[in-house]
């Protein structure tokens, strides 16, 4: 019997886990969070290609460091491989994707279909987003759909899961078992409304939330204080969004061009003063993680290292948030390994095996 990793189905890594009482999904992320472990999620940079290897290679660098991988849905309104497609590939390989659903591109008919399709492929986590406006991306002439908003999308999926019905009331034969997520941005106005807005999202069905990039820890602390006072942190797992900044120039560009990301002057000053700005950006990210992990109510971090994905492992390692725990890692199965070794020997070693010799070595 080969040693099995925690949260892995013995019948196959791509299969859903056993249902647990109180769990709404059969996925790994919900188990990690409900066990009270500090969760780490990240984002896969979606390829502009039709090659599955591009997805696998991009997922491989997170192996053993993250509990779930966000499959983004045309983030920034730029065309990329779809989140459904990425999820189809990742679930085959046993990864735990978080399927992002943005309301910008699909109406309620398409979205409900994708929810069923995703859940059937083994997607256990879905993140409901509004989505950036089309003006932000590479196709500003596209028609913005926004048929649902993030809140009504959450409610739609929750109704599908808990009531086993479409939005129209038509019955589902097998409801999707998903762990529902939402996004929150504590760093954009109206600041008083944001914690209340989180409460609305919880009421609509959010079980975990990922925040926008946190570069202003005091501001995040204030938000969390209000969320705790309102009792939200008992009902939802908050994953704080963090990420490395490549340089002071990038930080300034993001600040003035990407709405919703708040970068204080102190951060830019610190980067400007550094010898190696990239290294300092990484260190800054680790410092922020070390601060936010101590805030009561923070259940994990969401590391967004766009085009710096190779740093995710280092950031998670050096910040020590996993406390020695190793998240699920894709491993070659022992029988596959035996076959591979054997093939390797036959193909590359200059030997001629005869049945007689094989019998001798077998004894």
């Amino acid at each position: 019997m080969m040693a099995r990793q925690r949260d892995e189905n013995p019948a196959g890594i791509h299969l859903p886990l056993d249902p647990l009482p109180g769990h709404s999904s059969r996925g790994r992320l919900e188990r990690v969070l409900r066990r009270g472990e500090f969760a780490v999620t990240t984002e896969l940079n979606p390829p502009d290609s039709a090659d599955p290897e591009d997805v696998y290679n991009r997922a491989k660098i997170f192996d053993g460091w993250v509990d779930a991988i966000n499959a983004v849905d045309a983030s920034g309104a730029n065309c990329h491989m779809s989140s459904v497609g990425i999820c189809a590939l990742l679930t085959r390989m046993g990864y735990a994707p978080i399927m992002q659903i943005a309301c910008r591109d699909k109406n309620r008919i398409a979205i409900q279909g994708d929810v069923l399709g995703g859940a059937a492929m083994g997607v256990a986590n879905m993140l409901c987003l509004t989505g950036d406006g089309v003006q932000a991306g590479d196709q500003p002439g596209a028609k913005p759909v926004f048929d649902l908003d993030s809140m009504s999308l959450l409610e739609t999926v929750r109704i599908m899961r808990d009531n086993g019905k479409f939005l129209s009331g038509r019955k589902l034969t097998t409801p999707p078992q998903v762990f529902l997520g939402a996004a929150v941005n504590p760093f954009a106005p109206p600041f008083d409304f944001r914690p209340i807005h989180l409460g609305k999202k919880i009421a609509a069905g959010a079980q975990f939330v990922q925040t926008q990039y946190c570069f202003d820890v005091p501001m995040f602390k204030t938000f969390m204080q209000k969320a705790r006072d309102l009792g939200h942190t008992e009902k939802v797992f908050v994953l704080c969004g963090v990420g490395p900044l490549a340089s002071a120039k990038t930080a300034k560009w993001i600040r003035s061009n990407v709405p919703g990301i708040h970068i204080p002057d102190a951060v830019i000053k610190r980067l400007e003063g550094a010898q190696d700005q990239k290294k300092e950006g990484k260190q800054l990210c680790i410092d922020i993680i070390n601060e936010v992990k101590e805030i009561p109510g923070v259940a994990g971090i969401h590391v967004m290292a766009y085009r710096q994905e190779e740093y995710v492992a280092e950031i998670v390692d050096e910040s020590g948030v996993l406390k020695g725990r190793q998240p699920w890692k894709r491993e070659v199965r022992r029988d596959d390994q035996i076959v591979a070794d054997r093939l390797d020997r036959i193909l590359h070693d200059e030997i001629t095996e005869t049945q007689v010799d094989m019998v001798k070595t077998a004894h």
């Binding site: 048929d147 908003d149 809140m151 954009a188 106005p189």
Partner: protein
């Protein structure tokens, strides 16, 4: 933010990239082109408490007239009522005639003016100065909705999770719908009351 917000909209980029011609459309999003300046809309939000009071009286008056609407036939009065409603609400709130008005739950700030038509709260893209991510010169509809709702008596109505917009009700009269529904509810309550008594 210390840096000045650059007012680079997508329309600017598109305009720059477009081939040279004498006609250049205004530098705003397509949605913004069909709207006027939002001075009146902002006035309505500032006076949300007054309008809330007025609206509830107005709804009562409409409900009183229910026998009249019913007598004339709701279908027959729809066109003239819609004509008035569209112009009045269009002037006051930049109404989009979604047909399912929730102004009293959104601080008298019409959520259909949000470029993403969000009916449940702001998106994460609100600029540091409180303006919209899509239209940098327009105050965020939901920042204003929050301000407006805080002045109102029923300030917690903003907490209700709104259902998705029923697109099949667009360009219909929300006033008549609400009145007919209220009348039906009143009748149902009356029937239940007499049923219990009998």
């Amino acid at each position: 933010m210390s840096d000045k917000e650059p007012a680079v909209t997508q329309a600017t980029l598109v305009k720059k990239a477009a081939p040279k011609s004498d006609y250049k459309p205004a530098d705003v999003s397509p949605q913004r082109r069909v709207q006027r300046s939002f001075a009146v809309r902002l006035w309505s939000i500032r006076h949300s408490r007054l309008l809330e009071w007025f609206y509830s009286r107005f709804a009562d008056a409409f409900l009183l007239l229910h026998p009249l609407w019913k007598g004339l036939g709701y279908g027959r009065v729809e066109a003239p009522i819609k004509f008035v409603e569209k112009r009045v609400k269009g002037f006051m709130f930049d109404c989009r005639m979604c047909g399912q008005c929730i102004l009293s739950s959104t601080g008298m700030s019409c959520p259909m003016n949000c470029p993403k038509q969000l009916r449940n709260g702001p998106c994460g893209g609100v600029r540091a100065n409180g303006n919209c991510e899509v239209e940098p010169n327009m105050p965020c509809v939901w920042v204003k909705a929050w301000e407006g709702s805080q002045n109102m008596v029923n300030s917690d109505k903003i907490l209700a999770v709104q259902k998705p917009v029923d697109q099949s009700l667009r360009e219909t009269s929300a006033w008549l719908r609400v009145t007919a529904q209220a009348a039906a509810a009143r009748e149902a309550a009356a029937n239940a009351g007499t049923g219990a008594a009998a």
